[in-house]
């Protein structure tokens, strides 16, 4: 793999920050965009802009074709059986809300149980909590151990005939833990429990095959897969999506409307009310093709080597504690430094061109579990190098110097 070539594909990486080379290690929050994605947005507004699925004019036909071509790219990317199973949404958060709302209103009643895990991001907790408040269902949580791994030995204890859905994160944004998804789904299905997967942290880092996983729903965000903000994908098996009522009403999702009654479109349009972010959908297609062009083996091997190197180097810093030591992790490392609050770490690292995330990572239950108010988190992408990690380590010693640690 030619990492220097890859780095030149991402123009932002060439911009110094506070006079230093940028070491962008906040990829779990959002990834940078390759030139092909930036150009796709630009090209769309220069040459193709029109509303889709309605015009008979040339531009509308072109925009519609490009939009639907992106859906096909998404289908191939996640290996869905049908393109109609790929719904465009704002992002992972909207996908969870869509399913909690729509699946919830169709299938979940008072006394039912919704199962999530101790590793969830707030976006895969709060929509289900809101559904519980509306419906009288109960939220149950699969616990984790001190390493940040789910306690799967006792998984079946959390299943009951009342469990209507298991909503689970593929990999933890706060700890990096990679869940053994295929096994979890298999065991849930043995109890007739459908599984919703939050794939926000994996779609850009691991090959996703929704048919092989056999998940009932899968979602990811465009902006964490080298694509634009404001766009994401919800995959759902056809039979679920067909049975579920629309999430939002409006234009584009109907066949006919009268004041007495409306007939809804079929999939995927039933779930895509209103004008979607067309440019972003098309650019997302380019982002996914960019990932495809690199190849999954290359991406996985590279990011695992970064994880291994960073774990070793961070572990050698006195007073630094890595939070989350699961056996299988994606390229995410959370840590604390004795006597220094993570926000102070973040501010000082920034002065040395190192961008990391600090805070609770929208996973306050995880912070509570490890009894820390916040952590500092470095997360890797395809363009990161060992030099980025060295820059992080050097800057962390500066933090220690400022704080006399």
């Amino acid at each position: 793999m030619n990492i220097e070539q890859i780095r030149t594909d991402f123009p932002i990486l060439a911009h110094p920050i506070h006079g230093h080379r940028l070491a962008y290690l906040d990829n779990a929050a959002t990834t940078q965009k390759p030139l092909c994605v930036i150009n796709a947005l630009d090209h769309y507004y220069h040459h193709t802009n029109a509303n889709i699925h309605r015009g008979v004019h040339h531009l509308s036909e072109q925009a519609t074709a490009a939009f639907e071509n992106a859906r096909k790219i998404v289908q191939d990317f996640i290996h869905a059986e049908h393109s109609q199973e790929c719904i465009f949404v704002k992002g992972t958060t909207e996908a969870v809300n869509l399913v909690a709302s729509s699946f919830g209103s169709r299938y979940i009643q008072a006394g039912d149980e919704i199962l999530i895990s101790a590793l969830e991001h707030h976006s895969n907790i709060v929509p289900w909590q809101m559904l519980c408040q509306r419906s009288g269902a109960r939220l149950k949580v699969i616990p984790m151990n001190e390493k940040g791994e789910l306690e799967l030995d006792t998984l079946e204890q959390h299943f009951s005939p009342k469990t209507k859905i298991l909503a689970i994160i593929h990999a933890s944004n706060a700890l990096g833990t990679l869940n053994p998804l295929k096994e979890i789904i298999h065991r849930a299905h043995a109890h007739q429990i459908p599984v919703f997967v939050d794939g926000a942290q994996t779609a850009a880092h691991l090959k996703i095959d929704v048919q092989d996983l056999d998940c009932d729903f899968f979602t990811f965000s465009g902006h964490k897969t080298y694509g634009p903000t404001g766009i994401g994908v919800l995959y759902g098996k056809t039979h679920w999506l067909e049975a579920m009522p629309p999430y939002q009403g409006g234009g584009d999702m109907i066949l006919s409307v009268s004041f007495e009654h409306s007939l809804y479109q079929g999939l995927p349009f039933k779930f895509e009310a209103g004008t979607p972010p067309i440019a972003e959908v098309i650019a997302l297609g380019h982002a996914l093709e960019y990932i495809n062009s690199l190849g999954w083996d290359t991406i996985y091997t590279h990011e695992q080597s970064l994880l291994e190197y960073a774990t070793e180097r961070l572990g050698s810093i006195p007073g630094l504690k890595i939070i989350g030591n699961a056996k299988n992790k994606i390229g995410v490392i959370s840590f604390t430094l004795e006597g220094v609050h993570p926000h102070d770490i973040g501010s000082i690292l920034d002065q040395y061109g190192v961008a990391i995330r600090t805070g609770h990572h929208c996973a306050m239950p995880i912070m509570n579990f490890f009894n820390v108010p916040a952590t500092a988190r470095a997360s890797f992408g395809i363009y990161n190098t060992l030099e980025d990690i060295d820059q992080l380590i050097t800057a962390l010693y500066e933090v220690k110097r400022v704080f006399k640690r």
Binding site: H18, G339, V340, H341, P342, H343, D344, S347, I348, Q351, T358, G359, H360, M367, P373, A374, E398, V402, F403, K404
Partner: protein, 147 residues
């Protein structure tokens, strides 16, 4: 811009070993403040006698900036009149957001560097906002009692 302008000796010292960091047993007003962005949390306790804050303490957890701010605030306001303190609070917040504001008195001048770090202004002002809430609460209590 040097990171030492933000993390001055005084801020590191008070941030890591804050003064008056305890519950005030005979407090007659208190308020809680949160900075959801950082997870900083501060509770300010006041012993108010008529128009004077006799003693101020705080408890909380957060970054060095927020803890140092609460610590130095508690030192700066104990024994002062409420009107004077509210004026100081206003000046503190102004100084952190505006280049043209007059410099802060005494040790509080150490926070002038925070102005260059917009993401951290809320950390520094959290204690002062919480102080204002505690003062307001005591005023409203007094008003209610007067009625």
């Amino acid at each position: 811009m040097d990171i030492r302008d933000l993390y001055q000796e005084l801020i590191i010292e008070h941030g890591t070993q804050p003064r008056n960091c305890c519950v005030l047993e005979n407090a007659n007003s208190s308020a809680e403040g949160f900075n959801p962005l950082c997870g900083d949390k501060v509770c300010v306790y006041l012993k108010i006698d008529n128009v004077t804050i006799e003693k101020a303490t705080f408890t909380g957890a957060g970054c060095a900036i927020s803890m140092a701010s609460a610590s130095l605030m508690s030192e700066a306001i104990s024994g002062k009149d409420i009107s004077e303190i509210l004026d100081l609070s206003l000046r503190f917040k102004e100084c952190l957001t505006s280049d043209s504001a007059p410099p802060l008195p005494g040790k509080l001048a150490a926070f002038a560097g925070v102005r260059e770090y917009p993401a951290r202004v809320k950390c520094a002002t959290l204690a002062w906002h919480t102080l204002e809430a505690a003062i307001k609460k005591s005023a409203s209590t007094i008003t209610t009692e007067a009625l």
